[in-house]
Structures are given as structure tokens and as C-alpha cells.
């Protein structure tokens, strides 16, 4: 695998729309050709080379291309959007929509990720070492279909509407989440190691949510369906006792969602 290093060379004021930064777009291109790719900043399309030093070499295909991004990328949006293969490693924080619609490959963020990480993702691995913002793996505004496949791994915590409208794939959160986790979920798996707050699984029609911590303000449309000890989903295993709920029956009586809550942390449920 060949490595390309993009080093940010100036502070960014208006956020960059940098969906060109993918192994797919860089593969087989010379450094000059990569620098000439255009990114949007407000109403202007500018060459990538205006913002980054580009060193190294691209691979012949996306699979053989590894992109490392150095510097504060927190005002750069859409890195890795739609990528199908290869690797991207972002050494610090990153802006909105990182890995949105990605179909394959690996995208690693060492810092925090802003909102809409892995939005409508279809495949591959999005690994965020820090925290994530709102709408992780979620559907775009107005759409009811979010992430379809792949895995999002967040070591820290995430905020609101994680996995909204999710159809498939997995989102694993090391920390906690805030409001409306798994809203309108249709399929796939969400696991939250910490707690969740209000609206967990509301209007879900399918899929599974597992909350290992405490759920504050449990959603009213779920029905209790007993307890299970020790859960496993493929290679993922979770020890302990869990209360099982089915729903969300608040709107549809045909809903098939499954919600597990840690029994010890949620004695009143």
C-alpha cells in the first residue's frame, strides 16, 4: 500500500467541502493532479493544493492507497465521503460528514468527529477514537433511511440521533449517547456501553439497540418481553442481565424493533 500525506498549511475560516479526499479519487494520480483536485469553500471551487501540502505517492487503485491527514481538520467536511476501499487516517479532529456514504475501506479518526459522521454509510469501517457529534450513521434530513451496512466504532461518546433511520450495519459506542438514539431505526445493531437519555428507539420498526448503562426517560411505546442473560451478536458478546423490550408500538402495531437495557442499571424499568 502506498501512502500519501496531506498536511494542512493554513488555518481554515469558511469550512471546506472536501469530498474529493478519498482513495478512489487519489488512486493512480500524480501529486500535481491531486493538488489540482477542487474543493468547495463557500461559493468558490479552489484547488486542494491551496490548503494542503501533498507528499508521498498514491497507489494504482483505491485498495492500495493510504491517505494520512495532518493538522487540525475540524473545519474540513466530507473527508472520505463515498470511499469504496483503501484507508484514511486523520491525526486530529475532523469536521462534519466524515465517511458519509462510504462503501468500503477503513477510515480512522484519532480525535473527535463533528456531526453526521458515517451518514448513510453502506460499508467499511469508520473508527473514531474520540467523541462524535450528532447524527452518527443517520439518514440525511428528510430521508428515513440511514446507514445500510458497515461498522462505526466510537471509543468516546456521541450526541443526539445516533443511527437515525438506520437500515443495517453496526454502530458501537464506548461512551454514552444523548437524545433519540436509534430513532426510526429499521434494521442493524446499535450498542452503547454507557447510558442514553430520552427517546431511545422511538418509532423504530426493526433492528436492535443495546444500552449497557442507564436509560433516562424510557420511551413509552415499548412493551416488556422478559429478561436475557448474556447477549451475543456475531462476534460481539455482552455479559450481564438485560431487560428486553419490543416496539416501538406508539405508531405502528407491526413494529419489530428490539431494545435491551442493562437490568442492574435500570432497576425501575
Amino acid at each position: 500500500m502506498e501512502t500519501l500525506i496531506l498536511t494542512l498549511k493554513k488555518e481554515i475560516d469558511i469550512k471546506l467541502e472536501a469530498d474529493v479526499i478519498t482513495p478512489d479519487n487519489f488512486a493512480g494520480k500524480s501529486l500535481e493532479a491531486i493538488k489540482a483536485l477542487s474543493v468547495w469553500q463557500g461559493p468558490n471551487a479552489l484547488p486542494l493544493g491551496d490548503f494542503f501540502e501533498v507528499e508521498g505517492k498514491s497507489g494504482n487503485s483505491a485498495e492500495e492507497t493510504f491517505i494520512r491527514i495532518k493538522g487540525d481538520a475540524s473545519r474540513i467536511k466530507q473527508i472520505g465521503a463515498g470511499m469504496s476501499a483503501g484507508r484514511i487516517e486523520i491525526e486530529g479532529p475532523v469536521g462534519m460528514r466524515v465517511g458519509a456514504g462510504m462503501k468500503g475501506g477503513e477510515l480512522l479518526v484519532l480525535g473527535n468527529a463533528d456531526s453526521w459522521a458515517g451518514m448513510e454509510m453502506e460499508g467499511g469501517l469508520l473508527h473514531i477514537k474520540g467523541n462524535a457529534g450528532d447524527h452518527v450513521g443517520c439518514a440525511y434530513r428528510g430521508s428515513w433511511h440511514g446507514m445500510k451496512g458497515g461498522r462505526i466504532l466510537i471509543e468516546g461518546s456521541a450526541r443526539h440521533q445516533l443511527g437515525g433511520g438506520m437500515d443495517g450495519g453496526e454502530i458501537l459506542v464506548g461512551g454514552s449517547v444523548q437524545h433519540f438514539c436509534g430513532i426510526r431505526q429499521n434494521g442493524g445493531l446499535i450498542v452503547v456501553k454507557g447510558g442514553a437519555f430520552r427517546g431511545v428507539g422511538v418509532e423504530m420498526k426493526g433492528g436492535t439497540i443495546l444500552i449497557c448503562g442507564k436509560i433516562e426517560r424510557f420511551s413509552p411505546g415499548f412493551e416488556a418481553a422478559g429478561k436475557e442473560t448474556g447477549l451475543s451478536f456475531g462476534e460481539l458478546e455482552y455479559a450481564g442481565e438485560f431487560k428486553k423490550f419490543l416496539g416501538d408500538y406508539a405508531i405502528s402495531k407491526r413494529a419489530k424493533g428490539v431494545l435491551y437495557a442493562n437490568a442492574a442499571k435500570n432497576p425501575k424499568l
Binding site: 439518514a139 440525511y140 434530513r141 428528510g142 430521508s143 428515513w144 405508531i251 405502528s252
Partner: protein, 584 residues
């Protein structure tokens, strides 16, 4: 010289002039088709070498939802329809976005890129006429007009109930002028008024709430008024009971209502020279026939009823239809038929918008996706094509998708290819649910339309049907210089090679509008001015005065004042009145 061009040596398909691929030159001077250019004019004229290419009049869409409140509601409620489909601004063109409900600029460019030059908005509620005109004015490259929704109008229901046809006619004439609209649209007659009370009507003789008017009385009355006034187009009917299993029977019965009324178009205009008689022959123009042709009793046992309706239409001369094809994929359903959209809402649970328009009508909007895996959707795909293939006379059919109800107009190339290529239909049968084959007749149809017939379905007949053939839909002397040139050689055309057809229809080699090249292989190269047409219908002063006295009295039920009701001409780009019912 602007608007002057010679299109040389193309194969010309101009059905209104009975040209079936004749090799000839088309000359246009100052935006109008002429017999020839003088040597001096020829020297300055632009020339397109169309040798080996197909030349047709510019495309005419007689039924598309492109402007006004419900289209905009569709845009507002569907950000997801916009974020993946967008258009970069250039020195010449605006930016834009949207797939099923594109922004106004984008829809103008997209139509022009496919070779269309004229598009009529399918439904303008009177109260939303200003909004509709604002959007039409901002839609570039297309000559436009729109139909006024009158099938549940309080004034007309009252006048027709009391048998006051003269008053009803005076009201329609005044409304056309007031709102700068073109023809009468009748959506779920008598039923939309009931929707204000959470009800609908179930048959043609059910009297509605308060007004006690039945669908049959509304259709009959409006057809009569239409012909009393000599309107350019037939009554434009969106029949009752749309989208329900078993609705085809009612559709057939509805069409029979207009049969006794003789078409009597009365226009005072200059007519382009054509071989065919341009006078209107139809008294009813039924829209999106597919949606009104379900047989069966439920979504489990439903099947296509198109064959039956088609055989009725084959046996009569007063009916013309457009298809309302559903080419699979994303759509946004939007119609003045509020209860029909509510049914789709209960079926899908998708987000839903509904509006009641005071004394006039209503509407509903909902995102919808047609899946190849879905049995009913697959059947609908086949039914849409059946409407165009089982009705024998192409002069009774018009190709549409009821855009964006069946799918966006940008899917026309697929529909055009399906009706021209059995091989392409077979390919789609192989990809979709077996109901497409099992529940319709389409699998047994081997008819493949010729380029000449396609020109009828997409240009000549929509123009003739709506009374615009005096300047649109033909290349006769005096017609507008609107031309589409497709990269198709009729000599070597092979309908089995459907990829070639799709390519050619997606991006016309050239689109010429009033003698200016506006699009070249899909790229917009100039943006000249456009026109908006409306019917300027005459009625005697005394008749109008009497009617207005009554209208002003009832205006107290509106939330706006009478003086603010009309749409001034300044809302239109190049307003072009069509003189109707002039005193002889």
C-alpha cells in the same frame, strides 16, 4: 440575425404535416418556420448539418406538475430529494438542485436538454395562480401555460346545480382572464369538496355535502361550459376514485359523460400551415389513465383494467388521454386530489402534506418510491405502457409520467424507449416482479412505435389536443421555430438496440427554441426569452356584470379581498393571450 437558422438534410418527422422522415431543410427566420430564406438571409443564418439525424418539432408536455404551491411544498418537504442532485452555476445558467422536484431553473434546463420546448402546468388552484406564474416566469427555456382547477369550485357547483350554464360560462371566462390560465382542469369532481369534511365520493351519482352536486353533473356541466366558450382544449379530467382497485369501470363511465357534447373550439389566432386539420376533435382529455385503470377488488387480487378502458377509447372519437407512466424509482406524488394522497399516506406512512384551498379545491403531497420488487408497482409500470400500446390510434394518446407523480420527467427517455422497443420491455420484465407480466396484457404486446408515432405522442398530439398546434408541435410555415434533433439515424435504427435510443433521448443533439440553439448534446448554450400563454375568453359585458355581482357577494367567504384576487400580467414573461370565443 437572431432566431434565424437552417437545419439541413435531416430526416424530418412532422406528423401534422405528414412528414415521415423526409430528408429536407427546415428554415427558421425571426423565430418562425418559413418556406425558405432569401440569399441575403441565408448568408447570415446559422446552419446545423443534420445529415443522418432525426429532426422533430420541439417536445410538448401537456401535463406536468412544474409550478405552484404543491410543487413547492414538495421541494420544501424533501431536502433528501435535493442534496445528491445538484447543478453548478455557470456564466450562463443558474445553479439548481432536486431530482423529482427540481428547482425552477434546473427543471427548465433539464427539459430543454431532452429536446422539450413547451410545458403546460397540470393544475393551478386559482388562489395559487400568482405563485404558479412566479415559478413559470422563473423556469427558463420553456413556453408555458397552466390549467385552472375548477372541478370543486363553490361558484361553479352552485351555478351548475341551478342550471345556470350562462353564468357558469361567464365565470370560467372571467377566471381564465383573471388568473391568466389556459384551460379547465377538473380534479376528482365533487369529491375534493367532500374531503374538506374528511369524506370522498364513491360513485358518479353521489351528491356531495352542502352543494349536492355529483361527479356526473360536474363533468357534464364543465364539458358543456368548455364547448360553449369554444376553449382551446377539451375538459382536462382527473377522474374520481383514482388509485383504487376496481376504479377502471368508473373511469369508463366518466368518459361516456362527455360523449354527447360536440367539440367546438373557437379561437381567433393565426394558424401555422399544416396538412392535417388542426381543429379539436375531442371533448374530454383524461389525464394519467394508468392511475385510473385498476381492476379487481383489493391490492391482493388487483389487475390491469387498461385493456377494457382502451377498447372503449378505441371505439369512440371524443376521448384523448395521457398515460401517467411509472418508470420505477423515486417520485413525489402531488395532486389536487387530497383524499387520494391521504390513501397513499395510510398505505405507506410516508410524510404527508395536505392543503385545503378555501372556496376552490385542495391538494396533497407525499414522497413515493416505485420498486421493481413490488408486485403492484411492477404492474403499474406495465399498465402505463399498456395505455400507450393498447389504444390503437396514436392521435388519442400522449406520453407522460404525470411528472413527478409516476416519476420525474427526466425519465421520459426510458418511457419513450419502452414504447419503441420490445427488447427493452423484455429486459425490464426480467428485472421486476412477475405481476407485471401476470396481471397485465403487456407481455403479449409486440407493438413497437415508430419515430413518426413517437413524434405524435410527444409533440404533435399534445399540441393539437390542447389547442396549441397553431404554433407548437409542427414545423409548418408560421409555426414557432422549436426543433429537436436526436442523434438517431432512422435508416439504421434498430429498436433492439435500446441503449442507443436511451442515449439519444436523454440528450438531444440540438434543441432549438424560436430559431436559437439552446442546448447541444445536453449542455445549455443560450437562454433566450420565453412566453406564457393564457386564454382571453370573451363573454358579453352584461353577462359578466351579472356574474360578477354574485361573485362579489360570495367573496365574503374568502380570506382575501376581491381586489387582490387577480393575477396581473406583470407576473408573466411575455404574456401571450389566446383570443377565445370572440364575437363574429
Amino acid at each position: 440575425m437572431a432566431g434565424t437558422i437552417v437545419i439541413k438534410n435531416g430526416y424530418v418527422f412532422d406528423p401534422l404535416n405528414e412528414l415521415k422522415g423526409d430528408v429536407m431543410d427546415i428554415c427558421i427566420r425571426d423565430g418562425k418556420v418559413v418556406r425558405e430564406l432569401s440569399p441575403a438571409e441565408s448568408k447570415d443564418a446559422k446552419v446545423i448539418d443534420a445529415k443522418g439525424l432525426t429532426v422533430m418539432p420541439g417536445g410538448v408536455d401537456s401535463h406536468s406538475h412544474v409550478a405552484g404551491a404543491k410543487v413547492n411544498a414538495g421541494r420544501q418537504m424533501r431536502p433528501e430529494d435535493h442534496y445528491k442532485t445538484n447543478l453548478k452555476k455557470t456564466e450562463l445558467t443558474h445553479s439548481g438542485s432536486g431530482y423529482t422536484v427540481p428547482s425552477v431553473y434546473k427543471q427548465g434546463y433539464d427539459y430543454a436538454a431532452m429536446g422539450y420546448t413547451t410545458v403546460f402546468e397540470a393544475a393551478i388552484p386559482p388562489l395559487e395562480a400568482r405563485h404558479s406564474h412566479e415559478e413559470m416566469r422563473s423556469t427558463p427555456l420553456l413556453d408555458m401555460g397552466g390549467y385552472l382547477v375548477l372541478g370543486n369550485n363553490w361558484f361553479l357547483m352552485r351555478y351548475l346545480k341551478e342550471g345556470e350554464l350562462e353564468r357558469a360560462a361567464a365565470y370560467v371566462a372571467w377566471m381564465m382572464k383573471t388568473h391568466k390560465t389556459y384551460g379547465i382542469k377538473c380534479v376528482n369532481p365533487a369529491g375534493v369538496e367532500n374531503w374538506g369534511w374528511g369524506e370522498n365520493v364513491n360513485n358518479l351519482d353521489q351528491a356531495n355535502i352542502h352543494f349536492e352536486m355529483s361527479p356526473r353533473e360536474m363533468i357534464k356541466g364543465l364539458t358543456e361550459v368548455n364547448e360553449m366558450l369554444g376553449m382551446p382544449m377539451p375538459l382536462h379530467l382527473h377522474a374520481n376514485n383514482l388509485g383504487h382497485p376496481g376504479c377502471y369501470e368508473l373511469t369508463k363511465e366518466s368518459l361516456k359523460i362527455s360523449a354527447p357534447v360536440k367539440p367546438k373550439q373557437n379561437l381567433d389566432i393565426e394558424w401555422a400551415e399544416t396538412k392535417m386539420d388542426l381543429a379539436r376533435e375531442r371533448s374530454v382529455y383524461l389525464t394519467h389513465l394508468m392511475f385510473n385503470s385498476f381492476a379487481g377488488t383489493s391490492w391482493r387480487d388487483c389487475e390491469s383494467g387498461v385493456k377494457d378502458v382502451a377498447s372503449y377509447i378505441n371505439s369512440v372519437d371524443h376521448v384523448v388521454i395521457d398515460s401517467g407512466c411509472t418508470p420505477f424509482g423515486e417520485a413525489t406524488v402531488m395532486t389536487g386530489d387530497g383524499p387520494a394522497i391521504h390513501d397513499l399516506y395510510t398505505l405507506t406512512g410516508n410524510k404527508w402534506s395536505n392543503t385545503d384551498i378555501e372556496l376552490e379545491c385542495g391538494s396533497g403531497v407525499l414522497p413515493f418510491t416505485y420498486f421493481k420488487s413490488n408486485p403492484v408497482h411492477s404492474m403499474q409500470w406495465a399498465m402505463g405502457l399498456e395505455t400507450l400500446l393498447l389504444i390503437k390510434d396514436p392521435w388519442k394518446t400522449i406520453m407522460t409520467t404525470d411528472s413527478p407523480n409516476g416519476g420525474p420527467f427526466t425519465k421520459y427517455p426510458e418511457v419513450m424507449t419502452w414504447i419503441m422497443s420490445e427488447a427493452y420491455r423484455k429486459k425490464t420484465f426480467g428485472e421486476c416482479h412477475k405481476w407485471a407480466n401476470d396481471r397485465t396484457e403487456l407481455g403479449g404486446v409486440n407493438r413497437e412505435l415508430s419515430l413518426y408515432e413517437l413524434a405524435i405522442l410527444t409533440r404533435a398530439n399534445p399540441a393539437k389536443t390542447i389547442g396549441m398546434a397553431h404554433r407548437k408541435g409542427s414545423l409548418g410555415v408560421g409555426a414557432d421555430g422549436d426543433v429537436t434533433i436526436y442523434a438517431l439515424d432512422p435508416q439504421t435504427l434498430n429498436a433492439d438496440n435500446y441503449e442507443e435510443l436511451l442515449r439519444a433521448f436523454r440528450h438531444a443533439a440540438y434543441t432549438v427554441k424560436a430559431g436559437e440553439i439552446v442546448a447541444k448534446s445536453g449542455e445549455i448554450v443560450s437562454v433566450p426569452e420565453k412566453r406564457t400563454y393564457y386564454s382571453d375568453v370573451y363573454v358579453a359585458d352584461a353577462q359578466e356584470k351579472d356574474m360578477l355581482a354574485d361573485v362579489k357577494e360570495w367573496f365574503k367567504y374568502y380570506t382575501l379581498g376581491f381586489a387582490n384576487y387577480p393575477t396581473p400580467e406583470k407576473y408573466l414573461e411575455n404574456p401571450t393571450p389566446i383570443k377565445v370565443n370572440q364575437e363574429s
